[in-house]
């Protein structure tokens, strides 16, 4: 039996603050999003025990994320949120033994008092109108708390099925000192969902010497606007690996992993952006790096049709830190546009920061070479696009590699 508990006072307080901020209307508005048009409450789908029992449209969404039935069964920790509610949380007992807790954030705020120390602590809710809106109306997200090491990935999926809906999931990941986990987050909406938004807030706490692998896969249709914010606090001696796959997406999308990188910590962030149709994708990564830390921000962008992509990367060194930004862009059409804005600032003479960027189209000589070996123009282009992505694809778990390829092919960019 499920006991319905009400939200604790501190959550109510945050919601009130959010509402008050919205009411006074002074926060920065988003030029693409009019919040009045959205609803944040919807009908709840009945919670299920196994993924096989999910409704058709949910399973279809999984295909969009490239997960086959067989692969779904192998996952040990998996949560699925549809719109604002948790549809499924299938968590193996093995996770418990390894001291890993997974729950819907909506439930977690009622069950685990310590979450108060993490909720809206890295992202301020008065950042802009959307964060205030999120504070007032948030629903769902996952709470992952690890106090140990767990090899196989923990999967959290967010699906948007309702039109005119604002998905406001709040995800919190806490790694206690020396812990190690891999989190895979997948977000998508099946084709018929129109004019919805996704404003997810992710707050990740990686404590001393812990290791986090974060894989984020987003596959949005071009009429869903998304504004996810990811903020990571990585303490001394931690390792953080981020693989960010952004496939298509909103007529405008902003993705913002912001990191505070402690002493002797390491972050490796790799982003693959594939845009088509009229997408306008804005990707930003900011790292504040402390003594003896090391940062690598690498992005590969493929822009087709009429899409525009802006990639902003910044490393600010607060001490003797190492950092490198690399941004590669591939334009598939005359009307596509890629802008790379790398920036470095150093507050220490001993810091070692660098950046490189290159944007171009498919290499004509390589195309001709492949065609002269019998490949059609299309085949040659596909191989070269895959070749462009390959350094990043290699980093993906094999499970996702084939799938990302498939999705990109489906999107017709190849």
């Amino acid at each position: 039996m499920v006991i319905k508990m009400s939200e604790p006072k501190w959550v109510e307080h945050i919601r009130e603050r959010g509402r008050a901020l919205l009411k006074n209307g002074r926060l920065k508005k988003d030029e693409y999003i009019n919040l009045k048009t959205f609803k944040s409450k919807n009908e709840t789908m009945k919670k299920i025990e196994r993924l096989e029992d999910a409704p058709k449209e949910v399973l279809a969404a999984f295909e969009r994320l490239g997960l086959s039935r067989e692969e779904q069964k192998r996952l040990l920790g998996i949560t699925v949120q549809v719109d604002g509610n948790m549809l499924l949380s299938q968590v193996s007992k093995i996770l418990e033994k390894k001291n890993v807790t997974i729950d819907s954030t909506s439930e977690a705020v009622k069950k685990y008092p310590e979450i108060k120390n993490y909720f809206f602590k890295l992202v301020p809710y008065d950042l802009n109108e959307l964060t205030a809106y999120h504070a007032a109306h948030w629903s769902g997200g996952v709470y992952i708390h690890a106090n140990g090491k767990f090899q196989s990935p923990i999967n959290a999926y967010f699906l948007l099925l309702s039109p005119l809906f604002s998905q406001l999931e709040h995800t919190i990941v806490v790694l206690e000192p020396n812990s190690e986990i891999t989190v895979v987050e997948g977000c998508t909406a099946p084709i018929p969902v129109r004019n919805s938004i996704h404003v997810g807030i992710n707050e990740l706490y990686v404590k001393k010497n812990a290791r986090l692998n974060l894989i984020k896969l987003q596959n949005w249709p071009s009429y869903v606007h998304t504004r996810p914010i990811t903020k990571i606090k990585a303490e001394k001696g931690t390792h953080v690996n981020i693989t960010n796959i952004i496939l298509g997406g909103g007529a405008s999308t902003i993705e913002t992993p912001i990191v505070e990188l402690g002493e002797e910590a390491k972050i490796n962030s790799e982003t693959l952006i594939f845009s088509d149709n009229n997408s306008l994708i804005n990707v930003a990564s900011y790292v504040t790096a402390y003594r003896d830390s090391s940062t690598v921000l690498l992005s590969k962008t493929i822009a087709g049709k009429n899409s525009k992509v802006i990639v902003r990367d910044n490393i600010t060194a607060e001490g003797k830190a190492k950092g490198h930004i690399s941004c590669d862009g591939l334009l598939l059409s005359k009307n596509a546009q890629i802008t790379s804005v790398p920036s470095l600032s150093s507050h220490s003479p001993d810091a070692n920061l660098s950046h490189e960027a290159a944007i171009g189209k498919l290499n004509e000589e390589s195309l001709f070479y492949l065609r002269s070996r019998g490949l059609s123009e299309k085949q040659a282009e596909t191989l070269l696009i895959e070749g462009f992505m390959s350094p990043l694809m290699k980093k993906l778990p094999i499970l996702y590699r084939q799938e990302v390829k498939k999705i990109i092919e489906l999107k017709g960019g190849m």
């Binding site: 390589s366 492949l370 490949l375 070749g387």
Partner: protein
């Protein structure tokens, strides 16, 4: 037979090759000499269908079919192979990927095995199946890789654009052997080279000399011997 009839080639606005005629028969080795910038590579690239080298006049006839305006892949599938003088590196693409694309799933393993065999006979290791094409290859490795690919694709007519440039003595011997092998396999060969000396061990049929985009001399082995002795401007310097 691969027949070039009255071919004129432009790169951009510039005319590079003019009114060129040539017949390459199956089982014959034709050698093309010519000073730097004569237009030899332009001819080779235009024949293979490079979009920058436009055939503005004339025809290419391959075994009776007019392939002048066909796409590079069409020409390749019809049995024309160009060994590049300087093959480009193909970022992120391995021979394995290339072969996977042009084969169906059921033949794939067989083709990989064949590729390994030809890599070995061309003097390379099997590793080249899994390296990005031409990326970081040494000059000689590039030539050998092209040669391995040639034997793997088994075309009817091959244009070899300086397969012997920049290779060491042993490799040069291997390449000569391979060219003779092509002849014995009844391939039609057009060999572009700067080294008359390698012809000594080659079973050649014809020698042409190109200057400023035109064939200025044709004949047998004696043409090559004259060039070896006097160079391309031999007559004028007398």
């Amino acid at each position: 037979m691969l027949e070039l009839k009255n071919i004129t080639i432009n790169a951009g606005k510039r005319k590079i090759v003019e009114n060129l005629n040539m017949k390459i028969k199956a089982g014959e080795i034709n050698v093309l000499f010519g000073p730097n910038a004569a237009g030899k590579s332009s001819l080779a690239l235009a024949l293979a269908g490079h979009p920058e080298y436009k055939i503005t006049k004339g025809k290419i006839i391959l075994d009776g079919e007019n392939i002048t305006k066909k796409a590079p892949e069409y020409k390749s599938r019809k049995g024309l192979f160009l060994l590049f003088q300087s093959p480009p590196s193909v970022e992120g693409v391995k021979l394995r990927d290339l072969l996977s694309t042009i084969s169906n799933e059921k033949d794939r393993l067989k083709i990989f095995e064949k590729a390994k065999k030809f890599l070995l006979t061309a003097g390379l290791s099997e590793q080249f199946l899994n390296r990005e094409i031409n990326k970081g290859f040494s000059g000689g490795e590039k030539k050998k890789f092209e040669l391995a690919l040639l034997f793997l694709l088994s075309p009817k007519y091959v244009i070899l654009d300086e397969p012997d440039s920049g290779v060491d003595i042993d490799s040069s011997k291997l390449i000569v052997e391979k060219i003779n092998e092509l002849k014995s396999l009844s391939k039609g060969v057009l060999l572009i080279t700067h080294y008359p000396a390698i012809l000594k061990n080659l079973n050649i049929d014809k020698v042409c000399v190109m200057k400023n985009g035109k064939i200025v001399e044709e004949g047998g082995r004696e043409v090559a011997e004259k060039i070896e002795e006097k160079g391309f401007n031999g007559d004028k310097n007398e």
